[in-house]
Amino acid sequence: MLGKTAGGLFWMFRYLERSENTARMIDAGLRISLTRSSAADSEWASIIDATGLREAYLQRHEQIEGPAVIDFLLRDKTNPGSVIAAVENARNNARLVRTALTREVWEAVNECYMVLKDKLSRPIRDRELPIVLQTIRQRTAFVRGALHGTMLRNDIYDFARIGTFFERADNMARILDVKYYILLPSVSQVGSMSDNVQWETILRATSSVRAYQTVTEGDTDPRSIAEFLMLDRRSPRSLAFCYGKILDNLGYLETQYGQHMPSFEMAEKVAGRFNNYSVEAIFDFGLHEFIAEFLNDSRALGYQIEQDYRFIE
């Protein structure tokens, strides 16, 4: 496979995952603003922070407020992190790697782009927003479904999956990076345990509300939220799960190519942390420091994968 194609697949699935995660974060913000309007603006601020786009946003808007944030994250084409830009990038990468995709995967991503381009061509009114967000989640899920159902399990599939989980873990870590303080034990002493708006946002933004409740049988506390989002291997969005998958797929690549690569060892080191540490150990180490270190390692791993598999010259 061409190095360029491997890179195209990796990025195609990163962009798709990103657009879906952005939609989930907007969903969480919307929920807060509908149910607890007093907390809304600070929630939108932390969502902008989690996307890493505060500076770009403030160049275009004076204040952080719901409608402007939603527009910026969904449909501002000058914002490279917006859903429409991400979906367009995903589709451009799909065109680039068209020969590596089945017809089903290509059609799913092409239709995803056509539908969202149409839906996001005009400003979104409040009452349309839930449907638009649902469409984003649904259309990206179709692509994933087509990938599962129709693609050979070979290097092409591996690069697609590595891109997916790399982006998912990265997005999760960014949310944790912005919100870590609400999960610290000291904060949990303050306020009502079961009615913490902050906890709800973080679970919603990572699409983990129901899963978390199932696992904890209804009890909510910050320690178990942190544990669930980082270490629970049953959750397809946890850092441990994502890195397990990345490691699997890098391993399959090594088997197929018969080559051992530095990127595998780096991923092994990162994944190892999730195996070896308990949530208590992470808190002892410092939650914020742990996440910051993870984000650094993740950046380095992305760079190494690009080198090892010759995405660019």
């Binding site: 190095g3 068209r98 239709e111």
Partner: protein
Amino acid sequence: MSDEKQYFDEMFGRGETPRGPYEDYFAWFSDEDTRRLARKSQEAEALFRLTGITFNVYGRAQAAERLIPFDLVPRIISAREWSRLAKGIEQRVRAINAFLYDIYHRQEIIKAGRVPVEMIARNEAFLPQMIGVKPPGNVYTHIVGTDLVRTGDDEFYVLEDNARTPSGVSYMLENRETMLHMFPELFSKVKVQRVSQYPNSLRRSLSACAPNQCSGRPRLAVLTPGIHNSAYYEHAFLADQMNAELVEGHDLRVVDGRVAMRTTQGYKPIDVLYRRVDDEYLDPLNFNPDSVLGVPGIMDIYRAGGITIANAPGTGIADDKAIYSYMPDIVEFYTGEKAILKNVPTWRCSEKDALAYVLDNLEDLVVKEVHGSGGYGMLVGPAASKKEIARFRKKLESKPGNYIAQPTLSLSTVPILTKAGLAPRHVDLRPFVLVSPDRIEITPGGLTRVALKKGSLVVNSSQGGGTKDTWVLEE
């Protein structure tokens, strides 16, 4: 009555009842509800959009990706008509390859005085770098798209021999897929020869031209100028269908005397490169030094037998519009037979008498640029205004050698489906020909292009033309 039928209609001839090849189709069509067909037409468009069968229009950011309109009334050719066409095309393509070999070696045809030396020596399409080069299997034009027009029951003309990088074959294949998808029942009533073998044939044909240095199963790649090229869809489609890599210039470099592509496991040599990049951009070391689309040094590897380039560089000398007028001689010279397919009579404006005639008759003639394509830069006399003719006259007078002229042909029509039912529109036909050392294979049918505007003779997709599925009936 017969006055109205100035043009030969392929469905109804010059009368009111369907001709033989269209009888079964017309019987089916007459039982169909036209509203259902109109809906099908929209379905087809949605299908094309979903599949992404688009072409890019240069310089128009807004409509960067456009669909070529598809008309769902097929163009039908009988087995008998086709077998004669196929013989004529094969003869012509054989002659073109012999001509190219000769022109880049001993130039017997010039010595024999059948083609004047200026036609070659002063022609930009002639590549001195190809002199003495022997392409693998002596094949120059691996893929040809011979443009044909019809003017009567038994009258076909060759309009152009596209011997460089003919495009459109993906539309031939997708049009058929779309028809099979929309009207499965129709194909059980009318027996149509299949076209879906084309990608396999292309793969086999290119593999048969692998270079000396190829060991084992030939590795194929399609070279595209990139995602913004107007035919990118087709490049990706063909690479996908024949299981080849789709590469751009920056994926390639010369490694150990071979042209190699950057894969996830290092550089791997390519044996056959189906390039959809023009000669000029192929190799910045040998041709245009500013090109970023090509591979520096590929011509040197080619000459040393390290890679096959399809089509070979320098084939443009054979489909040049000035050379075209010599094709009957060329066919006769190399095959010893009279050309089966007719040439359109052509005035070479480089010749004094011809130029005088053309200038006197501009309003009746079609005048084309020798190196033009895509229907640009041409004058269709009968359809042009006085002003346009005057403007063109100036261009022609200043550079007569740049132009040829032909009579306006009464192009045949095939009906398209309009809101008011069937309506005749002018068509041409581009069959696709594959040349390998041991055979010439022509896919039955080809791409029918149709001028959707009433009365228009310009079928080019860049100027409002559409396409039709083309059926060659089984015997």
